[in-house]
Subunit: 202 residues, 2 copies
């Protein structure tokens, strides 16, 4: 019903995360409909990304420059390091506009079941930076999952030999969240970490 | 936080149907992670699609050859024409493996609200084929929406001057569908079109 070009396109688009056979079809037909406009633009942009984007040799962020725009920004506070799992987590932190330090991307979390040990993560480069640079605080911003917390615990142990303050993000109610829809553990932790009401006002 | 290459990639991926900013981010990071494998493969496949895929000058299907593989297949019944809205509808029909005729793709439906009249659809080429080729039956497989049925009605009128049997797909219960979840109109139509039970057994 169609040639090899279309079936290869469907197959490759289906390999993208969150794209099933149905979405791959919709995307392919959309691209083929716009094969004089959107399709060549996408090709150019993908080629640019392939040749220009590199991994930062300090923090493992993805950017057009190495060191990345965060590591090379003189206005960032080089004494505060935020440890995240993935580039998407760095993007999420940056969206808050509330962190002015630098990052280190682990590239995942420790996971016995997936065979991911410390050597699979960017921990050697982290310890190198900790030994070389002058961090006063390391903020563990791994996710609030068992693996995320195991990883945070493992790194805390490694950092104990240095005079560095090691913190983690607070647990609690997400803003806009209703108690009724929250799990018991989150509510318990939010209760334990309760603060005087007036202290939390801006 | 990242260079122009990544932001352009996010922007273009976000233009694909069903891809919001969040999925665009996931897709971009996945492609950048695999920028030595999946990304160049996708570029090649997109370029192949751009240069090789064409619109069939008979039925407006998308394929690597023109006439498309269906129009040029000598085993297809050239007396039976199925009229569909889009290429995706042709693919859906072909998945049934139950139609052995040929197709004509309208490229949409009549829609006063969107300013789509007969001249915006592939109706001139349809009438040309009807006059030239030897169709005995035209199956109207437009969707069961108001616009789809208006379009089917409009085409039925145009075809009346020819000794051609004009049919449409049956309405009724979708297989696996429960009455409780079906609208009244579908149930009413299925009731009107009821068949002797034994006649429907294979």
């Amino acid at each position: 019903m169609f040639g090899p070009e279309i079936s290869q396109l469907l197959q490759l688009l289906g390999k993208l995360p969150g794209v099933g056979p149905r979405s791959a079809k919709r995307m392919a037909l959309h691209l083929l409909k716009k094969r004089q406009t959107l399709l060549p633009q996408l090709v150019t942009v993908l080629q640019e990304a392939q040749t220009k984007v590199k991994t930062c040799s300090f923090c493992h962020n993805l950017d057009s420059i190495d060191p990345c725009s965060i590591c090379s920004d003189v206005k960032r506070d080089k004494t505060s390091l935020c440890l995240v799992e993935e580039v998407s987590d760095l993007w999420a932190m940056e969206r808050t506009h509330n962190f002015r330090g630098v990052y280190h991307i682990l590239g995942g979390v420790l996971s016995a079941i997936d065979g991911i040990g410390p050597e699979q993560l960017n921990i050697t480069s982290l310890m190198g930076r900790v030994a070389r640079e002058q961090f006063q605080e390391v903020i563990l911003a791994t996710s609030a999952t068992v693996n995320g917390q195991t990883t945070a615990y493992y790194i805390t142990e490694l950092l104990e030999q240095y005079p560095i303050r090691v913190t983690r993000l607070a647990y609690g109610l997400p803003v806009g969240g209703s108690l009724d829809y929250l799990d018991e553990t989150t509510i318990s932790l939010a209760l334990q970490a309760r603060l005087p009401f007036k202290q939390t006002l801006p």
